[in-house]
């Protein structure tokens, strides 16, 4: 018996699988997460992987959470330690009273274990080797065998896992039966040789409802399909590649003319990021809805074109799936570190619209909305995802679409309008909102053509280096950005249960951890009003929210407090009133981190100064 009472919990614990990249464990681990879901119990899985193909350590963490917390919790209750390379670190990371599951084929010295955890050994290699002769099969099925053993240990219903395997290998009977066989090999061994179930258990519940299980990148790609994107140009880069790959896959299913079989889309893998954004800008200039997906290094390469898009006022949608920078940084780790780079991308005075979805459902909605915004505002729109949302499966409310919705194509002057005698000046501010009319190439034989350029021009698109003409144009661009404030998604605000002088601002993938952290903080006696920012330019309510509180915490996942900088810069806020809460080690921010950081700060506020107490 361990010297600490083994953890005991139903439907609320964290399992982490430690594997070697390339060992084929990913599908088995995901199968486990899906199996928990089939029990009606929410999960929040996270893939923690290295930037290589084979050989380096990889982890897959499944937070089993009947409460439905979708952020990372921190800590590990059971470690499935399948990687000798990381053994010591993995064992050290187990919570006191937790469990260590390992391959006991080869005996391990007792010094490699801990006294305060329960050790569960299953001779996985021996079982696999005695059943299979092919080396690859031995490796792959070892993963399914440990899944079978976990099924017994957690008291899971094997039929639900069989059902999932059946769906995965539908039409591939041989694969289906061999996987089911491996599952039972592990389960039977565990039932016969171990005390099952353990303290951590999965019990059927009804807590998933109609929610779906989807990666943010896939949802964003689907948003592009529904939003009417017809041209996608991209260049592979982690963690954004799966956006374009998912868009391709969705289009192949949804976007072919039923009569001719021809594609109602064009996807080009560019030679680099420069070409990709160039294709997007060319397509958008010519009236198609176009987008690219990239990550921080790609944004760096695209900035010259982004400046052109801003100044020449050409719609473009860029999905930036952020990863840890600067430079190559940590390509497979998450951060929210491109805020400043995107908000002011390119040289000269530029400002760009940023959208910050919190989960796959918003990634879908905001992606579709980005095309309307890009055409309405005739500018570049950044959809700011990050690896944590983009590359992890998340439980999400179902995706919804209103069939009566029509695309907002913005201010387009047609041949008929030109024939009616409407005055067309490409950069005329006809409506006072800073947004001019444009014409598509080929619109009219004698009217409406103009020359698009990145150099300064007057309201009729005629080249001009006149200072007043340039300034007039730049001021109109500011007006347009102000117009954008009321078009982009507004911040969402929630008040604390009790009146408070303090607030917290957060955005994007921090949201699930923040939701949970609020509860932890309340338990510590701290009340916070909160605001989730969903877009830049900031709505006026952001400044109001800050003004209404003594000070406001700004929680974000980067070193320099980039959102805080942007708020200070754009709203003229005294920086002292915004307290940065920063998490930037490449792992997703957790509720525990937020609650501790804010809670400690709040605790200090409650300490009465000694002099005051004495007097």
């Amino acid at each position: 018996m361990p010297d600490k009472k083994p953890l005991s919990s139903v439907n609320d614990f964290v399992v982490r699988f430690a594997n070697v990249n390339g060992s084929g464990s990913a599908s088995a681990n995901e199968l486990f997460a899906r199996a928990v879901l089939r029990h009606g119990v929410p999960v929040s899985p996270r893939n923690i992987f290295p930037s290589n193909i084979q050989g380096l350590p990889t982890w897959y963490e499944v937070r089993v959470t009947e409460e439905g917390h979708l952020g990372a919790r921190g800590g590990v209750d059971m470690m499935v330690a399948m990687n000798p390379q990381t053994w010591d670190k993995d064992v050290a990371g187990i919570e006191p009273g937790g469990y260590l599951f390992y391959d006991s084929t080869k005996p391990m010295p007792s010094s490699k274990f801990r006294d305060d955890i329960t050790v569960i050994g299953v001779p996985l290699t021996a079982i696999a080797n005695s059943t299979y002769t092919d080396p690859r099969q031995r490796q792959l099925f070892k993963n399914i065998i440990y899944l079978g053993a976990l099924c017994a240990l957690f008291d899971m219903d094997p039929k639900l896992i069989e059902q999932l395997i059946g769906e995965q290998y539908k039409g591939k009977e041989k694969l289906l039966s061999s996987n089911v066989h491996a599952l039972h090999l592990g389960r039977d061994w565990a039932l016969q040789n171990l005390k099952c179930p353990i303290g951590l258990r999965i019990k059927k519940a009804d807590k998933v409802g109609d929610r779906i299980f989807i990666e943010g990148n896939s949802a964003a790609a689907l948003g592009a399909v529904y939003g009417g994107a017809t041209v996608c140009a991209w260049y592979p880069i982690t963690p954004s590649s799966s956006v374009a790959e998912a868009f391709t896959s969705h289009c192949q299913k949804l976007r072919h003319d039923p009569e001719t079989g021809k594609a109602k889309y064009a996807i080009v893998q560019g030679e680099d990021e420069l070409a990709s954004i160039g294709i997007v800008i060319g397509a958008s200039w010519n009236g198609a809805r176009a987008f690219t997906a990239t990550s921080g290094p790609g944004i760096s390469l695209m900035t010259e074109f982004i400046g052109l898009s801003y100044f020449a006022e050409i719609p473009a949608v860029i999905m930036n799936i952020q990863r840890a920078g600067p430079s190559t940084g940590m390509p497979t780790r998450t951060q929210q570190c491109d805020i400043i780079a995107c908000a002011y991308a390119s040289h000269g005075d530029t400002k760009h619209v940023l959208l910050f979805p919190e989960d796959p459902a918003e990634a879908f909605e905001f992606a579709a909305a980005a095309f309307d915004l890009a055409e309405r505002l005739q500018t570049v729109i950044f959809l700011m995802l990050d690896l944590d949302i983009g590359m992890n499966h998340r439980l999400s409310r179902p995706l919804k679409w209103d069939d009566s919705r029509q695309y907002d194509r913005g201010k387009i002057m047609t041949a008929e309008m030109l024939d009616e005698g409407r005055d067309f000046g490409r950069y005329l501010d006809v409506d006072g909102d800073g947004i001019p009319y444009r014409t598509y190439p080929g619109t009219h034989p004698t009217k409406g053509s103009f020359f698009t350029r990145g150099t300064s021009r007057d309201r009729y698109a005629r080249y001009s280096e006149e200072g007043s003409v340039y300034a007039d144009n730049m001021q109109r661009l500011v007006r347009k950005f102000e117009t954008a404030q009321d078009l982009v998604p507004r911040p969402l605000q929630a008040n604390a249960a009790k009146p408070t002088k303090y607030g917290v601002i957060y955005f994007g993938s921090t949201a699930p951890a923040m939701d949970e952290a609020i509860g932890l903080l309340e338990a510590r006696g701290h009340q916070l009003d909160r605001m989730r920012i969903r877009a830049f330019p900031f709505h006026s309510s952001v400044a109001s929210f800050i003004a209404d509180h003594d000070f406001v915490y700004v929680v974000e996942q980067n070193r320099d407090g980039q959102l805080r900088q942007l708020i200070v810069n754009e709203n003229g806020i005294d920086p002292v009133r915004l307290v940065p809460i920063l998490h930037y080690d490449g792992t997703p921010i957790t509720a525990r981190f937020i609650a501790n950081a804010i809670g400690d700060h709040q605790d200090h506020l409650k300490v009465t100064p000694l002099r005051k107490a004495v007097s």
Partner: protein, 351 residues
């Protein structure tokens, strides 16, 4: 770049083409390039080719990068949409525009600095993708707008106006285009209108990646030390209150010579080009033969001109992507949005 429009007045008896357009309908604004610049001759040839083809001017999208050559789309087809993008990145912008609306004619105008240096990659990839376009490089071997640096097409051993000798090998864009699979490849000389006009017309009519390298003398070459027309000479002998850059204009260089012959052309700076016009019986359907022919004459110091290769059965990027016939920019929500019922099925598959 200029905004000086040409006067609209014209003689009522001017020749009209099949659509009733006159030359003036294919002109643009007044050029601000140096008098005698070969690029203006190319502009004239583009105007002539479009006139002869009876193209509706507004059905052309003219796209360029940055540089002297990239200014020229402002000087022709004034009723067309133009796009002066960023340095060297014309091909990607054109590719995107072409994907959006396959019904227009795409004319890409670039320079040697644009296409052989910063845009070398985009040039190559637009060619290999088979984008349906007429891609014209106005090639003078020098950076004119930044005053005289070598471009990547400058010959090894050639001298800059400052007397610097170029020690790098030249990139032959025609040879590269052939290697990359361009389905229409030609080279010409800006002053050889009788050759250039039909080559441009052929490129416009070709469905696929058509590439024309046009040798185009730069008047700024003629501005080296020792010249009484150089910047320095003018400054030293000038008492004016303003300090001005002056480029003395020259007459455009023109040539007219028979197929199969070699013509020596003296440029403004005194350097000589040996142009070889391909024979009348040259087979332009043999890509390998074209590459060999090109290299053989290059070894002799001759620049081969004419239509070097054409594939009459060429396919374009839209064929490769199997896109619908209707331009993508015309598809509306009814055609593009799968609708809520399809989304419900997707939701169901994700549970």
């Amino acid at each position: 770049m200029t905004y000086i429009a040409k006067p609209k007045f014209h003689h009522p008896g001017l020749e009209k083409n099949a659509l009733g357009f006159i030359h003036r309908d294919y002109e643009g604004k007044i050029s601000t390039l140096c008098a005698g610049c070969g690029h203006d001759s190319i502009t004239a040839s583009i105007i002539e080719a479009c006139f002869e083809l009876s193209i509706e001017p507004h059905r052309v999208a003219k796209i360029s990068g940055i540089g002297c050559s990239s200014k020229t789309p402002d000087y022709f087809l004034g009723n067309s949409h133009g796009f002066n993008s960023v340095h060297g990145r014309m091909p990607s912008v054109l590719t995107g525009a072409n994907l959006a609306n396959r019904d227009l004619i795409y004319l890409g105008v670039s320079g040697d600095g644009d296409s052989a240096s910063i845009g070398f990659g985009q040039f190559a990839h637009s060619i290999r993708r088979g984008v349906n376009m007429a891609y014209i490089v106005e090639n003078n071997g020098v950076y004119g707008l930044t005053k005289g640096q070598f471009s990547a097409t400058a010959d090894r051993g050639s001298k800059s106006k400052k007397g610097v000798v170029n020690t790098d090998n030249a990139i032959d864009l025609v040879a590269i285009a052939l290697q990359l699979g361009a389905t229409y490849v030609a080279r010409s000389f800006s002053g050889d209108k009788s050759q250039l006009v039909p080559l441009i017309a052929g490129a416009i009519q070709h469905r696929g990646a058509a590439f024309i390298d046009v040798i185009s003398p730069c008047i700024a070459f003629n501005n080296h030390a020792g010249s009484t027309k150089s910047f320095d000479y003018v400054r030293e002998h000038n008492d004016a209150v303003n300090r001005l850059d002056v480029i003395t204009g020259r007459d455009p260089i023109t040539v007219d010579y028979a197929p199969g012959t070699v013509q020596i052309v003296e440029q403004h700076d005194g350097t000589k080009l040996a142009l070889r016009k391909i024979d009348a019986d040259y087979d332009p359907h043999d890509r390998l033969g074209a590459m060999t022919f090109l290299q053989k004459h290059a070894a002799k110091g001759q620049i081969v001109t004419g239509l070097l290769y054409v594939d009459p059965d060429a396919e374009d990027l839209h064929t490769h992507l199997n896109t619908v016939e209707a331009p993508l920019n015309r598809l509306d929500a009814d055609a593009l949005c799968p609708g809520s019922a399809a989304l419900e099925k997707i939701n169901a598959s994700l549970r």
